[in-house]
Structures are given as C-alpha cells and as structure tokens.
C-alpha cells in the first residue's frame, strides 16, 4: 500500500485520468473550488468552460455521442446542480453515458438549508440512471469507478456523484484503481438466449414481408454493432428503417434503407411497418413518436425485439419474441447462424414486397418545389446536406420543424454523426452538443441545424465557441415562428397561433460579430449555394441566419391518434382527415 496521501479533489482527478477522461465540461462555484484547484495543477485533463451548466451537460452529451466515450460534467452545488437537471433528463431518455460531478455543502451542513444547498441526489434520482452522495473520502475512488461502470454498462445513462466540500478537501491514503472495483449488484445481461436467437433467424428466414426496425441501441452498442447489422440486413435483402435516434446505424444512402419511420418518417417506412409480417426491432423502444396509436401499430406482424433493457420489452407493444441482450452481440450471433445455416428469404416473396415498397417510394413523400426566390426550409437543409456530405459532418439539431427536416434530408452512412434530442425533445440542445462534438473532433465539420427560437435557449454558448475558437457552423433555419408549435396549433387548435411567433429577434449577424464570430445572412434562393459554400469553407465559427419561407409545415406526418396507414402527405390531406377526439389529448 502506498502511504501517499491524496485530497478528495486529487482522488477525483486521478480517477478521471484512470478512466481515460481527457475533457471535462464545467462551470465553477464555491462548492467545487477544491476540484478546480486540482484541475489547475495538472495538464492531462482539459476543462471546457461553458456559459451555463445546462450547456455543460449537453456539450458532454455531444462529446459522448460523437465519440462513444463517457461525457464528464463538473458543476457546483445548488444552482449549478439544478441547472444540470434538464441535460441529465435528456441523457437519461436518450441513453447517453455521462458522469456529472456536483459540488455539495460540507457534510455537517447537509440538511441545514446552507448557502447553495440543494438535495441534489433527491432532485436527480428520477432523472439519472443512478446517483451517489459521497459522505466518506474512503469510498471516493470506489464510487468514481463504480459510476463509470454503471454509466457505460447495460443501457447507458447519466450518473451523478455529489461531492461535499469537506470530502474534496479531506485526505486519504485510499485509492482503488478501476480494476480493483467490482460492482456488488449491477450485472446487465449482454448475451441473448441462444434458443431465442435461433428462433429469430428461423422467423426471418420464413418471412415474406420482413422489416428491420433499428434504434439508438445499435449506436450505443458500438460501431461493431452497425457493421454486423449492415451485413445481416444486406444478406437477408430485407428493407431497413431506423428511428430518429438510430439514424446512421444503417447506411442512410443504402438502397435497402427506406428512411426514418414514425411521426415524420417516410411514407414507405411507415407503410412497410404497417404491412410487414416479421418485424425485427433492434435497440429501439416502441416510442410513441414511432408507433402512432398502438391499436393500429403493425397489426399483422410477428415481432422480434432485441434490447439490453428488459423493461423495454412489452412496455408499449406486446412482442412475440423478446431477446434481452446487447444489440451488437445478439446481431453478431444471428449473422453467424444465418451464414452457417445458409439461410435466405424466399426471393419471390421478397420481390413482391420490394415492389410494394417501390410503389410507396414513388409517392416521393419528401418532394417539395423550390420555385421562386424565397428559400424553402426543406431546400435549405437539403442543399446543406448535398454541399457537406463529402466531409461527413457531425450534425446536431435543436427541436422543432428544422430538426425533422434535418432528419429527413440529411443521410448518415456512419453511426455517431447525428446528435439530436430524441426522447426529451430539448430545445437548446444542439448548440452546446455541437460544442462537445467539435471539442472531440477538432478538425471535422460540425453543424448545428437550429431554429431561431431554439437557438435563443442556449445562445450564451456562443461565448464558449468564441473562447475556444471552435469552428462550429450554426445554421439557423429562421422561419420566425416556433414552427412546430404553430403546425400543431394549425392542426389541433383552429389555427389560433397563441404565443408561437418569434418576436423581437436579434440581428443574428451582429450578434455573431459581437462575440467575434462570423455572421452571415441569406435571404434569396439564388444566393444559397454560394453562401453555404462560403460558410463551409470558413475556418472560423459561423452563425448563419437562413431566412426561409415562414409558413411551411413538416410532412409527411402521422397525426396524433392515427396509425401508420393514415399519414398526412401534405396540407391538402389535413382538411380531409380531421384529428380524432382521442388524438386531441395526446402530445
């Protein structure tokens, strides 16, 4: 045993290093000053100073999602911790591995309503995968390593470690290395039942109208999962759709890819879901944005569901063949069996199925016409994609219509390139997430596809972008509306646009310039390509105010309370198919 003594703050830093952490996103305050002091005295871990703690958590999410590593956050007690809550909830719903270190008042003051005291473990219990309050420095290194294990293993998620100031300042000889720490109870099941995997292979081989339905679980499982999945899908010849979270898990430009499914998914993906006879859900959770009304969801299919989280199974949709395990491992085994047993799907049936799908595809549900000088938002995003795709950019988004258009018109051939707030739908996510992605990939192109309203939710992070000279491209699809809110008001509330207009917007160009960034504004379709190219080529951060047609809505759409076979393809459909009573109460 070493007799060297460490302070709690030093133990924290040492544990982070031993976990391979190179970057921490944070914001200082009284209750974390010892840790900030320890950061000051070393050079291995880089600290990125954000402008609000909420930004730190989203930045760590962007870092985590673009690297596959754990994102690390450091904030102070009280308001620092409460500001982190939205990001933690976001990470919980999207299964993003994070460690959030929060300062806490010294242990003897806990419970006394001390200055900047908040019951952080109480507040964050329902919005983390797990949390800890470290009351004794002797438990500190063990807790740190356990937290990393919990954040990454099983279904990933955020873990909070609340650190009272006296623990940070205390001294101890105890330091356990990561390999010395074994969790007492948490052992997620990663290998699927062999019997069930065999059954799944059998079911797929006998399908006539199979469909792969792929979610973020495949991305979380690691790049290998995407590789084996892609190989399996290609060998079967079956169509493949992904959720919003799963974009990039299967190549978006592949001919077997039928696009994203769900509320704003493609017509062909949703009709394939409605009509398939065998559904292979891999790492998706039958979210309500995907299923539409449950009673009309894929009524005739046998459902296989592969998920590492047993509680995802039969939660919303009853399935026929559940397989609890890691997506990558299970698919790898399916692939092995498929090849070994020389399986194939009957080609005649498959051909009929593809012909049906081609029929639906021919509707060209994402078609639009860019006629005059006013830029259609769809066109803006499509051109942004076309002009950047060779550079394989990392794309983050905010929440709203622009988010859905980005999901529709960008295509990702690789995992970890697409970062959007799927489960929580957090406006203000994209800008800090882009900061995190750019920190992790300094030389790559990182774009935040933003809406003017969402942008304002975390625009203070322009300061972070300026300080670290991060060449992030912030592309504001400026329709001067909270477009998605207005769209729902049109559909559900008689076109009464209550409080959904983006009034009193700043001059975004001047705003950018005030932070020392490049500001650009584009108002005419004929200028779009040239200005986009200028933005892409610019080595500095750019805030791009793209003025688009204001009244455009996002289609296709499964309205609330409807099934996949009842999509609205455009405004013409809306009048014909009024929203059901049942749909009115849904969100």
């Amino acid at each position: 045993m070493a007799t060297e003594q460490f302070t709690g703050a030093e133990i924290v830093i040492k544990a982070l290093k031993d976990q391979g952490v190179d970057t921490v996103f944070g914001y200082p305050g009284g209750a974390v000053l010892p840790i900030y002091d320890a950061i000051f005295k070393q050079n291995d871990i880089k600290h990125i100073l954000v402008r609000q703690e909420g930004g730190a958590v989203h930045a760590a999410e962007g870092y985590a999602r673009s690297t596959g590593k754990v994102g690390v956050v450091l904030v102070t007690s009280g308001p620092g911790a409460t500001n982190a809550v939205t990001g933690l909830t976001d990470a919980l719903l999207d299964s993003i591995p994070l460690i959030c270190l929060t300062g806490q008042v010294p242990t003897h003051l806990i419970g006394n309503d001390a200055f900047q005291e908040a019951d952080t473990t109480g507040i964050t219990r329902p919005c983390t995968k797990h949390n800890y309050l470290v009351r004794d420095i002797e438990n500190l290194s063990r807790t740190m390593h356990e937290a990393f294990y919990v954040a990454q293993n099983g279904r990933p998620g955020p873990v909070v470690i609340d650190l009272p100031k006296d623990v940070q300042q205390g001294k101890s000889e105890t330091y356990l290395a990561p390999e010395e720490v074994k969790h007492r109870s948490y052992r997620p099941k990663v290998n699927g039942e062999q019997e069930h995997i065999k059954e799944a292979v059998e079911l797929i081989a006998n399908a006539k109208r199979p469909l792969f339905y792929v979610g973020g679980g495949v991305i979380n499982s690691g790049d290998h999962a995407s590789e084996v999945l892609t190989e399996l899908v290609r060998l079967t010849g079956a169509p493949c759709t992904t959720t919003l979270m799963g974009l990039g898990a299967y190549p978006g430009t592949d001919k077997q890819f039928v696009g994203m499914l769900g509320m704003h998914g493609t017509y062909e993906a949703n009709l394939a879901m409605y009509n398939c006879d065998v559904m292979i859900n891999i790492g998706a959770r039958f979210d309500d944005r995907i299923t539409g009304v449950i009673s009309k969801f894929s009524p005739g299919s046998k459902k296989i569901h592969i998920d590492i989280d047993a509680s995802s199974i039969n939660k919303n949709v009853m399935v026929d063949l559940p397989i609890v395990g890691d997506a990558g491992r299970v698919v790898e085994e399916m692939l092995r069996l498929w090849k070994e047993e020389k399986r194939s799907i009957e080609s005649r049936a498959l051909k009929v199925w593809w012909n049906e799908i081609k029929e639906w595809r021919s509707k060209d549900c994402l078609g639009y016409s860019q006629e005059d000088s006013i830029i259609k938002p769809q066109h803006a995003i499509k051109r942004l994609y076309e002009l950047t795709k060779d550079r394989k950019p990392y794309v983050t988004t905010e929440v709203g219509q622009h988010q859905m258009w980005a999901a529709q018109y960008f295509h990702f051939d690789e995992p970890k390139k697409w970062m959007t707030s799927g489960g929580l739908g957090t406006m203000g996510y994209g800008l800090p997430a882009a900061v995190g992605a750019q920190i992790a990939h300094h030389d790559d192109l990182v774009i935040d596809v933003s809406g003017e309203a969402s942008f304002m939710m975390n625009m203070q992070e322009l300061g972070t972008i300026a300080q670290y000279n991060l060449p992030v491209k912030i592309f504001i699809v400026n329709n001067q509306w909270m477009g998605m809110v207005r769209q729902w008001q049109q559909l559900l509330h008689g076109n009464r646009h209550s409080e959904s207009y983006s009034d009193a917007l700043p001059d975004f160009v001047k705003l950018a310039e005030s932070f020392g960034l490049v500001g650009m504004r584009c108002e005419k379709a004929e200028d779009l390509d040239r200005m986009l190219q200028e933005m892409i080529d610019c080595p500095h951060p750019v805030l791009f105010d793209c003025r688009v047609a204001k009244e455009e809505n996002c289609y296709p759409m499964i309205p609330s309370g409807a099934g996949h076979n009842e999509m609205l393809l455009g405004p013409e459909d809306v009048a014909e198919k009024p929203i059901s009573e049942e749909g009115m109460v849904l969100v």
Partner: protein, 171 residues
C-alpha cells in the same frame, strides 16, 4: 400481437437490495413516478454482514404492468434480486398488527372474547383499554379490526405484509 389484458391482480414481490442510503426512495419513486400501485411495502435489513435489505411489496395491476414493475425493479442499480412470490411457487405471507381498544363494561368483555377467538395477545392493558397484538394473513387482520370497530377501537398500527417462499430454497 397479443390482446391487451385488462384484468388486474395482486402480487407479492420480494426485492433484495443493497442497504444503502436512498434505496427505498428509489423503489418508492419508481412506483409513484410510473403510476404503479403500492398496497403495502415493508423494508428492513436482513443480512447485516453483506449489507442487504429485503423489501416486500404488495402491488396490483394487469399482467403486462406487473411484468413491467418487476423489470423496472430489476434494472435499479442497487437491486440484487426480484422474485414474484405469488407466482413462483407457493409462499407464506404474514402481517403483524397492534390494535388499541378503549372502553369499559360489556364492550370490554366482548373485545377480549373475540381477541381470544382470533388468538390475539394482550400486550398492554389498564382498566379502560387493551392493546392486542395479532399476527396472520392480512385479511384476517382486516376482519379483526372490523370487529373491534364498535367495541372501542381507537388506534391501529400494522406492519404491512412480509412473505417468504415455502420449501428449502432461498430467494
């Protein structure tokens, strides 16, 4: 797709957890946050050497909800084991109640007579009150409490259900 179940049933679930701060709050928060019922919940440390506590929770719901409850409990980080004692073999369930009855005269005599029939023990008494202790199945306790109502019942304290499987196997 299997038809959606609407019948609800009651289950007794045993959960072995690390005896660490906040673990009960996690379990209770899970039930309240997801809108599950708690009919009864008991918890105490059962293995001091290994720092393990046992939670016995009686809950109700449709078959689908009950499966969800078990899966959700199972994924809490400090949970070691979850067992459905109602369906995994047979089990013994018991509850303890302390029941205070105050009064004099005939009612007092009648209370004592019924207590005798129910094998409730007198653990405290004076000229004008009894405290009965009674152990048994919850519905038996319910009946006893009901019978005491007109006889001067003034206070009841119950432990909630504890349960253990029959046979030689551990949880």
């Amino acid at each position: 797709m299997a038809p959606i179940e609407t019948n609800t049933e009651s289950r007794t679930i045993a959960v072995l957890v690390d005896n660490e701060p906040g673990v009960l709050a996690r379990v209770i928060g899970l039930f309240s946050g997801r809108g599950y019922n708690i009919e009864s919940l008991t918890v105490t440390e059962v293995d001091v050497a290994h720092g393990l506590s046992r939670i016995t929770v009686v809950t109700s719901g449709t078959a689908q909800i009950l499966e969800q409850i078990k899966a959700q409990l199972g994924r809490l980080v400090p949970v070691h084991r979850v067992r459905d004692l109602s369906i995994e073999g047979s089990s013994v369930e018991r509850e303890l109640a302390l029941i205070k009855v105050a009064g004099a005269g005939d009612k007092r005599v009648e209370a004592l007579r019924i207590a005798d029939i129910f094998r409730a023990r007198v653990v405290d008494s004076s000229h004008d009150h009894f405290v009965f202790e009674m152990t048994g199945k919850s519905d038996k306790l319910d009946v006893f409490v009901d019978l005491m109502q007109p006889l001067g019942l003034i206070d009841v304290s119950r432990t909630g259900v504890v349960a253990i499987s029959r046979g030689p196997k551990a949880l």
